[in-house]
């Protein structure tokens, strides 16, 4: 019985050995290397899954590299941002920072980044700017925008087109330095009439936390008005003024310099936050890519094993059909 079965097996395999084409077909479908879809396919194709795995792996490498680059840039710029905080602190001690001041002409300076892929910091800046606009727009007050950076421009163009005064882009071509920011501030001062400037930026607390902040700089006339009204600014008269300048002269110089210093700090802090946000965004992106790759590998292996099993089943059932 067994011998008869074996002889039948031998007879069954003989035609298979003699004709090369079916063997090639079987060999090619058993090997996981090349498989074609169509032409009476007998097995499930893993080509699609393999392509996806390759592209996801490439994306993971790219996002990892971007994270490293952002981390190194962050290290460089964080030191400068923290050092620049000392520039405007004396101004706040002297003149105060009063976001609740009531003025006629408000100008909102929104600082955003030029490049994308940095998480949600630009959206939060734009959200705060829009909120400030709503708060400050009344029957006799007007509000205008000055935008730094491409991403803020893209978002604010959509619905606030007629309130935009100036747009400044391409800021980070050279290393950020005080001279560049002061020329920017000078441009803004010359082109825009304002009573109060509200600068919106993301303050850098730590690598994972960025706080959207507003800094208010008043024009010299408003400072005079506030100083008459008393309060912190009213103590200005207790300071001695050296040189042959009057108080309004000194106030004007101080206000311009204050704007320049506050802008410098704001731009640096925003750049820091941008790099930090990009680092964490790229980190979560590469982690997601890793998860996706794991899932795809499981699917790939399952598909591969299923195709092998199908092949085996077909061969064995074909063999048993021939003999039985």
């Amino acid at each position: 019985m067994a011998m008869a079965a074996l002889r039948r097996e031998g007879r069954r395999f003989a035609p298979l050995v003699s004709s090369p084409n079916p063997i090639n077909a079987i060999r090619s479908t058993l090997a996981p290397a090349e498989e074609q879809v169509g032409l009476g396919v007998r097995s499930i194709s893993t080509q699609v899954v393999r392509n996806r795995m390759k592209s996801v792996r490439n994306i993971q490498k790219i996002t990892k590299a971007m994270k490293m680059v952002a981390a190194s840039k962050l290290r460089a710029i964080q030191v400068r941002a923290e050092n620049s905080r000392g520039l405007w602190q004396p101004f706040t001690a002297l003149l105060g920072d009063t976001p609740s001041v009531n003025v006629k002409k408000n100008v909102i300076v929104t600082i955003s980044s030029d490049k994308g892929l940095c998480g949600g910091i630009n959206s939060t800046s734009v959200k705060i700017s829009r909120a400030l606009y709503k708060i400050n727009s009344g029957p006799d007050t007007e509000c205008k925008y000055v935008i730094l950076g491409e991403k803020g421009k893209a978002q604010l163009i959509r619905d606030s087109k007629k309130d935009i005064e100036l747009i400044l882009t391409e800021l980070q071509k050279n290393f950020l330095n005080y001279t560049q920011v002061s020329v920017l501030a000078d441009d803004i001062l010359k082109n825009v009439e304002f009573d109060a400037l509200r600068i919106v930026f993301n303050k850098f607390q730590s690598v994972v936390s960025f706080l959207p902040t507003t800094a208010t700089v008043l024009s010299p006339e408003i400072v005079e008005r506030e100083s008459e009204a008393g309060g912190k600014i009213g103590d200005l008269d207790s300071y001695e003024i050296e040189g042959g300048e009057t108080k309004s002269e000194v106030l004007q110089n101080l206000a311009e310099f204050q704007f320049s210093c506050v802008m410098f700090n704001a731009v640096l802090e925003n750049a820091c936050s941008e790099q930090g946000a990009r680092m964490s965004a790229m980190d979560s992106s590469s982690r997601n890519a890793g998860d996706m790759l794991d899932r795809l590998t499981l699917t790939y292996n399952r598909t591969r094993q299923a195709s092998i099993t199908t092949e085996l089943i077909e061969i064995i059932s074909g063999a048993s059909a021939l003999e039985g």
Binding site: K161, L168, S182, V183, A185, D187, F259
Partner: protein, 70 residues
């Protein structure tokens, strides 16, 4: 009385305090000797593009890419 306060010469020429201090800083930087001088000149490079808007329409952007004493 032409003016109530004596305005310094640069203010009446149309400069702001920022421009004034930048020019002074540039003069100080030019007093350095090499190699510190080229490092300092590197620190004051300026490049940005500004475009004024009027009535919701952008006008042609101008690129300010000079070293800032213009």
């Amino acid at each position: 009385m032409a003016s109530t306060a004596a305005v310094p010469f640069w203010r009446s020429a149309g400069m702001t305090y920022i421009t004034y201090s930048n020019i002074c800083a540039n003069l100080v930087r030019n007093c350095l000797k090499e190699p510190y001088k080229s490092e300092a000149i590197n620190r004051e490079k300026v490049h940005f593009s500004v475009s004024k808007w009027a009535d919701g329409k952008p006008q042609k952007p101008t690129i300010r890419s000079d070293t800032p004493e213009a």
